[in-house]
Symmetry: C2
Subunit: 417 residues, 2 copies
């Protein structure tokens, strides 16, 4: 019978097996007291099973408040462990929102632990059959943007908030002329009184379509359509009709069913922004790891997924960023690849070790200041980023490559390593 | 001009005003470097403003990893404070998902703090105009269930997972005969291979409709329709057509746009289950407080909202539960009341202080073991809970009232205080 494997990190003052059994019971057929309908047959068929428990050590201070102690546990230690539960597929069927309620629901509230994090998930084929997965993914994104064999170099419209459609279009014109591959709305900007969605699409796409006609290169613009569902669908059509090639959603604001609804009707790649993600993952003993998170969104079918970048300006350490890229490059049900989006404080200094440590150019590489603040302007900024990736993929030291590439040389002088 | 006030808790190794300014900038018109379009006019119009900062003290160990220090901050202290930001309504318009990306987005990832929690929100009238709010609320729920002047006594179908539609219907029959007011699906049970949604509705509603015809009392059953959007809408219609009076969704699995889509079309009260909520709120310095959370869901229009109960079996302390009830009883844009749902380890022992501390009977009071494990059966269990509330509201000590109420007396003997 098909099963869902859910991999967790736990911290508990109790015996590991006891605390983990409570979680397995609460999230499947068991309850805290025996009830009449809980027959041995039902339990055998529906109870979540403990697959493995891997003890990791202990701490003396609980990571989270609220773990309740038994009377004989006066000064406890808090044991940490990884463990895996197997949930029968039959318990929820191919219902991704209810899967989420099962593997990431009430269990965070249980007083049997002082820390719980869902690290990863293994979903059975039934979920791949029920959900569409990415429609465009890496290949489709490359075809639409005409960029092959190297990362898409991109940027985010800044200021994030406040530009009129006309001012946005002027900035996009400058970026197009500078040779950009990809531009996105900020997640703070969707359909606001000072930049109504359809006016922005109209102004921006006129610039992009003109540029494409003149040069044959059509930069991809991800329009942020995060909104109520009907508006999202209308805005998708607006982008499509204007010749746009990408839409963006704030995943945690939109949620699974609305994203799935969009995916089933979308004719454009979906750029998945994970703002709010810090709330799920920043604490090491609470929430959800990217391993689980990205599988849910790839199952539904997001085409691009943000992962931060090396030495980013946010809190996230490099090993976490690299693990995220690696997770996205691991096939899910034989494929379903979403393109990793590297961003946050990226300049000419990160491509070298980003490529060395990930081994791929199938990424978007977004820079704000790293493009706009180049001493010779954004065009030189984009060229310098492309050159930094050329040096990285050719195995040529950055300084050596810079000797024959003036834009890269100027960038090395401007941006601190 | 309309504004959104967002109230936060922060912990930071930096000067409070400096760290809070970074958040205000990042989440509105500013960026970490000055960009060409960032004119003084744009900044004046769109930048989030710091309204208040209330220092709270400091700790020596950071609550979250990843706060980055300047070179001169060798052994820092981590200052804690409450603060309020004002965001111009113009920045996002009446777009609740993008509001969420603004007040609960990238800011959790900033390395300028070692802890950030969104505590509360004040939304301008524009949000009340754009979103429908609860359709039934407390009054509508009372009318549909025929229960007035006291809490709705309810329970959850257990085992959570594994019962067939027929077995569920048999349990519902027993509960109806026992005089229950409200029953709900478990959040783990929606539309599964062993209990297909429409079969369960059909079996359960036959029992409930028969019971209503015979007795005039129609218990409310909240059918969990958490699923992909089209299925949710189809299932809503199935419940309505079968004469059902309530639907339930797992809020964090469904998300804002899908819940709003349902609300705009629903002809039934929406029972809002907050499973997964522990992930948002259990850490004192990360995530979202119920104050903010419940306003977002009341703005969209959930009719019932879970809050745990006093001395619950989960991690949540009583003061947090009471603050949640109080938040739900505070008018939002003049009303928009959602009924608080008290549950988790509730028995005859909590009504007395629940009523004393909340001053209201406008709640659902759900008990599992507190109903089913009564020594004289579930009928006596329900009677005993009702009597415990009668004693509470009449100001009669529980033991005194039990002297003339045998079901309550038996319950007092069974359940530990």
């Amino acid at each position: 019978m098909s099963e869902i494997l859910a991999h967790y990190l736990i911290e508990t003052p109790h015996e590991l097996e006891k605390a983990i059994s409570v979680i397995a019971g609460e999230q499947s057929s068991g309850t805290f007291v025996a009830v009449p309908g809980e027959t041995p047959e039902l339990t055998a068929r529906h109870r979540a099973k403990i697959v493995t428990i891997e003890p990791l050590g202990f701490v003396e201070t609980p990571s989270l408040p609220g773990a309740k102690l038994s009377k004989n546990e006066g000064s406890p230690i808090y044991r940490q462990a990884r463990f895996t539960l197997s949930f029968p597929f039959e318990n929820m069927g191919a219902n991704l929102p209810t899967l989420f309620a099962t593997v990431a629901g009430n269990l965070f509230e249980l007083s049997d632990h002082s820390g719980l994090k869902l690290l990863d998930l293994d979903l059975p084929q039934e979920f791949a059959d029920a959900y569409l997965g990415p429609q465009f993914g890496i290949e489709g994104t490359r075809k639409l943007s005409g960029v092959f064999g190297r990362p898409l170099i991109g940027t985010i419209v800044k200021p994030s908030v406040g530009l009129t459609p006309r001012a946005t279009a002027l900035l996009v014109k400058e970026l197009c002329e500078a040779g950009i591959d990809f531009i996105k709305d900020d997640e703070l900007m969707a359909d606001s009184p000072h930049s109504p969605f359809s006016e922005r699409v109209s102004a921006v796409m006129q610039v992009i379509n003109d540029h494409a006609e003149k040069t044959g290169k059509k930069p991809m613009f991800a329009f942020n359509l995060t909104d109520d569902l009907e508006k999202m669908m209308r805005h998708h059509d607006t982008v499509l009709e204007a010749g746009g090639t990408c839409v963006m959603i704030s995943l945690n604001s939109v949620g699974f069913p609305a994203a799935d609804f969009l995916r089933r009707r979308s004719q454009l790649p979906i750029h998945g922004h994970r703002n709010g993600w810090g709330m799920f993952t920043r604490h090491p003993m609470l929430g959800i790891g990217f391993g689980a998170y990205q599988k849910l969104w790839r199952t539904i079918g997001v085409d691009h997924l943000h992962v931060n970048g090396l030495r980013n300006k946010f809190w996230e350490p490099d090993e976490s960023v690299l693990a995220s890229v690696s997770a996205l490059r691991t096939p899910l049900h034989g494929g379903r690849f979403a393109m990793p989006v590297l961003s946050s404080g990226q300049t000419v200094h990160q491509p070298q070790d980003t490529f060395a440590k990930t081994g791929t150019v199938d990424v978007m590489y977004l820079a704000g200041g790293g493009v706009m603040a180049h001493p010779h302007g954004p065009g030189a900024g984009i060229t310098a980023l492309r050159e930094a990736w050329e040096a990285a993929t050719s195995g040529i030291p950055l300084e050596t490559y810079a000797e024959t590439h003036p834009e890269l040389k100027a960038a090395l002088g401007k941006y601190k390593a």
